[in-house]
Homo-oligomer: 438 residues x 2
């Protein structure tokens, strides 16, 4: 109504103390007395307590405000006042208000402060994301992704997006999603960009891809989604040790960003921040063989040659305050493309980073085979048709170099940062085998 009143965001309110400003938002909560009411307004950047005094406002405005329904949209104008007792340190003394859309009493906002079941909340995910904890988790996700990209962009990596539509599988085929691509062709949704990144690393030296990946996970676990985002760096002229160095540096960089930008969000999530502050270099290092011994000594029934389950991963780290990098797995539990260890060709030069607090594997990577003959042998051993991998084989014919890389899933890492039990809260619209809506 008054164009001279600046529209600001709640995040910026501290820079406008003493000024009359406009906030465009939604009613988050409301306390009321007879001649005063306290609408809490959220605008996506924060929540601000407003103070509406009956005697200072047109009667109609006060009446509308005091009976306003949760999540109604409104524009408030008023003076910003420092108030030590307010959550953010400021309050707004309302001078005028405009209700943009009043949520009907007969059809109220479905998510109330009372407890709701998970299915109900997931059915209302499009609204649930407005809730404080969900909002906080997605803000952390934003900073995790920005941290990852900034890390790679500032360390000489080139972003090269790899394709989603792929004719061949990188790993096993039981979890592939099939697409009716054309009348004559079926394709699959990528589970990893790695094979393609090996090609782009030979063009750019250091690359990363960062996009959604797809896995038809039948298991309903708290660690799996059918659609999740993964960052995958790949480096030419690099070995297993370089994967450990870069992975560790990257994890620390991102944790630094989260601690720098997300303290309020972590507080809303009741995250024990000290646990994140304790993550420092150097991470623990352990061979697969030693990890098996440690697990056995702690009562696990794992035998050498077996892969770790969730329980093993948790057991392995329950006495650790930082991630452990487990390397040199038996070649039999790893994919065809792993370079064998020089001291024992039955071991693969792969490494998994296992996060503490039961968050499990956050990084998987290693050194790839660069020798043509060995690659051909492995393809045959894994019954993978050479024709499907012709271009991948070419990389070993034309300027092959030792190279290595890794993948990290955004959701699991974000869950760790947030201290969330289930990764479904780390993505706006999670997809599971029995959940494709909203």
């Amino acid at each position: 109504m008054n164009p001279e009143i600046p529209r600001i965001t709640i995040a910026d309110v501290g820079r406008h103390a003493g000024q009359t400003v406009e906030i465009d938002g939604w009613l988050y909560n409301l306390r009321r007395g007879g001649k005063i009411c306290f609408p809490q307004v959220r605008d996506g950047t924060g929540v601000l307590q407003c103070v509406a005094v009956k005697s200072n406002l047109p009667e109609e405005t006060f009446e509308k405000l005091k009976d306003l329904t949760q999540e109604s949209s409104l524009i408030v104008r008023g003076k910003v006042r420092a108030e030590a007792r307010a959550p953010g340190g400021y309050e707004l003394d309302v001078e005028s208000a405009e209700i943009v859309q009043r949520v009907a009493e007969a059809d109220p906002y479905p998510i109330t402060p009372k407890e709701h079941g998970v299915d109900f909340l997931m059915d209302h995910r499009h609204l649930w994301i407005r809730s404080r904890r969900q909002h906080a988790a997605l803000k952390v996700r934003h900073h995790v992704i920005k941290g990852l990209r900034d890390y790679f962009d500032s360390h000489g990596f080139v972003l090269v997006d790899t394709p989603i539509f792929t004719p061949a599988a990188c790993e096993g085929t039981t979890t592939l999603f099939e697409v009716d691509y054309s009348e004559t062709e079926k394709v699959y949704l990528a589970q990893s960009g790695q094979l393609y990144s090996e090609a782009t690393a030979a063009s750019f030296g250091k690359v990363y891809c960062f996009g959604p990946t797809f896995r038809a996970e039948k298991s309903k676990t708290r660690r799996h989604l059918t659609e999740f985002w993964m960052v995958e760096p790949e480096m030419a002229y690099a070995d297993l040790e370089e994967v450990k160095r870069v992975g560790e540096e990257m994890v620390l960089f991102v944790i630094g960003r989260v601690l720098e930008n997300c303290l309020e969000d972590l507080k809303a999530l009741e995250r024990d921040v000290a646990k994140l502050e304790a993550i420092k270099a150097p991470f623990h290092r352990m061979s697969y063989t030693d990890a098996v011994k440690k697990l056995q000594s702690k009562g696990s029934e794992i035998q050498w040659g077996g892969d770790f389950g969730n329980t093993d991963e948790t057991l392995l780290t329950d006495d650790l305050d930082r991630p452990v990098m487990v390397d040199r797995y038996p070649g039999t539990v790893k994919a065809f493309y792993f370079q064998p260890a020089p001291e024992n060709p039955d071991l693969a030069l792969g490494v998994d980073f296992i996060a503490p607090e039961g968050y499990g594997e956050i990084i998987g990577g290693g050194q790839r085979i660069h020798d043509l003959d060995l690659l051909l042998k492995r393809l045959d051993e894994h019954h993978l048709p050479r024709e499907a991998f012709d271009w991948y084989i070419d990389l070993r014919k034309y300027g092959s170099v030792p190279h290595a890389g890794f993948g990290m899933g955004v959701e699991r890492f974000t869950a760790w940062m947030c201290g969330l039990e289930h990764i479904r809260e780390t993505i706006a619209f999670p997809r599971m085998l029995y959940r494709t809506r909203p």
Copy 2:
């Protein structure tokens, strides 16, 4: 061989003049004389001319270098010397060299300096990306994406990824890809994140999603891919004018980044940089109705009510040095969710940004319907089932606000920056209906 010699990248060579360094790369080109040869080495960050003098090297090393095959991988060590005549201003006087993998004479690198057909090059895309022009285009793409993300991250937008697996279609269904999701369900690959971003904007105020989108484009045009990346900002409490303001600011921000970081790449692409430097605010503004009049006056057969084809878009901008924002299209050519113009409900509050030089529509966006009854009416008119849009309808019940946003395709924008005729060169592994390999 000598751990004290620092491994550097060619991009950094200027900081090491007079020093002995190591470069790990590939043989890009080779000129030779009897007692001297000039291997040009590329490492992904640049190309460096090396000088190998027979009398300064072990005979075996010189012999290996002088007959080295294109794209063989090698490690060279030597002293960096400023050399005004060299392309990058520096040369390397080779002191030692190690061939990592020699490309066999019998099976030489397929892409030679001679001309190759497009199909041949596309079949060898995994190698073609090493060529100077392809490398340059993908570097520009990297900076376009980084520019876009940095713009939104620094202007209060929160990245909220929207789902790829979607039960319902945002636009027409003829170009949807269908996925066998589970035994009982089919889903579709997202063509846009917009509808979901409307939900997240109500949580965060200003959001963007940025991911791959999918369209089963049957037409074999130089402007279309089946898989392409799109950035889509969405803003609560925003209108059509705000879309124009943000879109213009964003385009200028990204062009600034490209000019700042990619001059060498644009040179390799023979791009007329003056054309990009000429892009300044304000962009041209024109109503759809005036655009139709202009086109008719230039000989187009378009009638009021029709959508612009590629030819019209080119004709509309052939006398312009910067983009034109065309707004207020007939509602009939736009999707169901457009807010009607207040002065004439037959017009949609949509805007397209048409780039000069024939690059066509780079941005499409507008203001969305925020009124519940109008949205329901439009869904019915478009024969879209309300059940499928129940959550989208909810957004109009619970705190609806005027909101607006737009989408921009990365590949088309990158093609414009690079001056490329076909967008297939702006993505590492382009997917078209008849091209899913490599």
